[in-house]
Symmetry: C2
Subunit: 411 residues, 2 copies
């Protein structure tokens, strides 16, 4: 007897048949006595179809009008799902973001939710109805339609769960949970039963694209238990993302291994070691709208310093040419770079209370003759940058070393 | 310097190229100093695509959810047109029915407009913007989306024009005006510069499908000058539909000839001529949801009467079987019928002040050896029912007789 918010993505509602399958699943949850609020995305392909129409009109569509148009994708799905539920005997009613009402700020195409009125949803739930809500959208105080940006439907799900103080927010995707690492790289990767919000954030920011970072942040902030489940496999438990509560069983040291080969590394050598030098190097890069990821600086004996940082691989050329002129201005010796790198990270709240994780990691990589180019650490993460060609080897070796491999199943 | 409401149908906005062409046309009107509110339908085919999606879910979709979904068709068009206007330098903003706000009753799929708030439109017009509004839709007082039913976009245009006290409501279609009769039947048919609301209603109800009856009624009620124009031919004057004002030039006797071959005729003979007999015959027909058009009754010398009426041809079999049982109950002699009939009508407010129109009509038909089966008259219309095979001949002869033929153009 719980209040559950479920969110189904575009692939899960991609055809009328799949929408009917979602309706059947919702019905089974309801038959177990639960109250249900269901958030859906646009049918897969629909948002792109709409954007292509806009592009056929103008290469630079007005954001307000783009939102006015794109939000119709989800609006079609909510109506179809409500019809599907009714057709199998489940009372249901659909609401757009504006109808709920989900109030956002005025930032078209990347709005932030400011307030949710739960009165209509509560009334429907009390009347025994399933509430179907359009993801990804809201309205500003003047009634203009806004959209929440990429992954916005996940955010809608979490926000509704927070507003309704739901017992769980279930995110249905095409994977059956969060894995210790990408099973395409490590076949022995295991599904995690549980992971903390912080760990999930570190995994997500490193390329585990199961959930959008923003929705995980949101869930963490409002303490909404979040569960990732497969919308195609029935009966799985998925992965529960939750706070690191005192009473949970002892955490493993490492929960997962994330990796990312979308980055490039740039180094400015022989930089005079004077105050403000980091800003003189990174300021122009930031102004060019390039996001900087890892930064490492080391002071040499001769009062100069080497300054290294990573950016998205697509920005490599642009940043290189910025650095070449910056280097001249500040009297640095040389600029070098490498866009064939990869980042590998161990993630786990367990490392807070376990010493020696870093040295165990470095020893493992050394044993495989993998050279570490950069190191960066946080409370629950250790990241290393290495040559791209060693990435899979590094991930597999670490996966085994930290006991993440799934036990071999006996036939 | 006028306030003009323009309405473009689905064909006129059927592709991005056509939407851009509509934007160019709106721009030209605006450059003449006019304020513009533009109402658009869904892109042609879109509403059917959406309904097909609903049908793939259930054969009996909930009307509320159907409206929630179908209204997205117009919502996409308004955003695209606003983008198109902006891309050619015309400030514009789009509004759904709910955003305007157009408030309707609760009758999903066939709602009636109850109120229109003109504040947002006035503010945009004052700021120099073109206002683009989704046709066909509104919201009830609880914020549920409703649609106005077939031809609803015309009604939206007229209703906005009435609310704004616009100088003119222009309906852009794929024909360039209202004709004296169907040019496919009479090549000499002429476009009318002007026609009264009453005449237009009579023409429309008889199958001239240029405008929806409801929007003409609405325009007449609120005295909104309505102009039918071609969205593909530039520069035409179209046809102005307006009240029969005192100061207009002398009306021609006949404005147009309408015809309809969708009807069937049924006759009950030898009916006892007692009070209440019409109800005993027509009551069961109405209860079967069949609409009755013309009714003729004649009393014979032997105190019995013959009772004839017409219905839509699709209802012919159904009504025949109803009448057979009714005839037994009331002791009528026999029931007969004919579904190969056509109705031809002269329409014109001029006949109010001109005697002899009917006899001139009958004489013309007699000259062509066409037998008249039924006659029905109103203030501004004379209708006759005749054998279907004579329809074209009758229309052409009357078109010439009442001086409706276009003058032969001299090369």
């Amino acid at each position: 007897m719980a209040l559950i918010v479920q969110k189904y993505g575009g692939t899960s509602v991609g055809t009328p048949e799949r929408i009917l399958a979602v309706a059947e699943r919702v019905k089974r949850w309801r038959e177990q006595g639960h109250d249900l609020v269901v958030v859906v995305s646009a049918m897969s392909g629909e948002t792109n179809r709409l954007i292509a129409l806009a592009q056929a009109i103008t290469s630079d569509p007005d954001p307000r009008e783009l939102d006015q148009m794109v939000c119709t994708g989800e609006q079609v799905t909510i109506a179809l799902l409500a019809m599907a539920l009714q057709s199998i005997g489940v009372p249901a009613r659909s609401y757009t973001g504006g109808q709920v009402a989900i109030t956002t700020d005025h930032s078209y195409t990347k709005a932030r939710i400011e307030q949710i009125d739960d009165a209509r949803m509560r009334a429907d739930l009390a009347a025994g109805r399933v509430v179907v809500v359009a993801g990804f959208q809201g309205v500003d105080v003047e009634g203009n339609v806004t959209t929440l940006g990429r992954g916005g439907s996940d955010t809608t799900g979490v926000a509704l769960a927070a507003a309704l103080k739901a017992d769980e927010c279930q995110i249905y995707t095409d994977v059956d949970g969060v894995y210790t690492t990408d099973p395409r790289v490590v076949p022995e990767a295991r599904r995690l039963d549980r992971i903390t919000f912080e760990e999930m954030l570190e995994m997500a920011s490193l390329g585990s694209k199961v959930l959008q970072i923003r929705s995980v942040e949101f869930a963490g902030k409002y303490n909404v238990p979040l569960r990732v489940l497969s919308s195609f496999k029935e009966g799985g438990e998925g992965t529960l993302i939750t706070v690191d509560a005192e009473d949970t069983m002892e955490q493993p040291v490492i929960s997962g291994i994330a990796f990312n080969r979308d980055e490039a590394k740039l180094t400015v050598r022989g930089v005079p070691d004077i105050p403000g030098i980091a800003y003189r190097i990174l300021g122009p890069v930031g102004e060019a709208n390039v996001e900087i990821d890892m930064i490492v600086q080391n002071v040499a004996a001769d009062n100069t310093t080497d300054f290294t940082f990573t950016v998205h691989r697509n920005d490599y050329r642009k940043v290189m040419s910025i650095l070449e002129s910056v280097a001249k201005e500040i009297g640095a010796r040389e600029v070098s770079g490498d866009d064939r790198i990869a980042k590998v990270s161990l993630v786990g709240v367990g490392m807070r209370s376990h010493a020696g994780v870093a040295s165990q990691m470095f020893a493992t990589l050394a044993r495989e003759n993998i050279n570490i180019q950069m190191i960066s650490t946080s409370e629950i993460k250790i990241s290393v940058v290495l040559q791209e060609k060693y990435m899979e080897l590094a991930v597999r070796a670490l996966h085994t070393e930290f006991n993440l491999d799934a036990p071999a199943t006996v036939e």
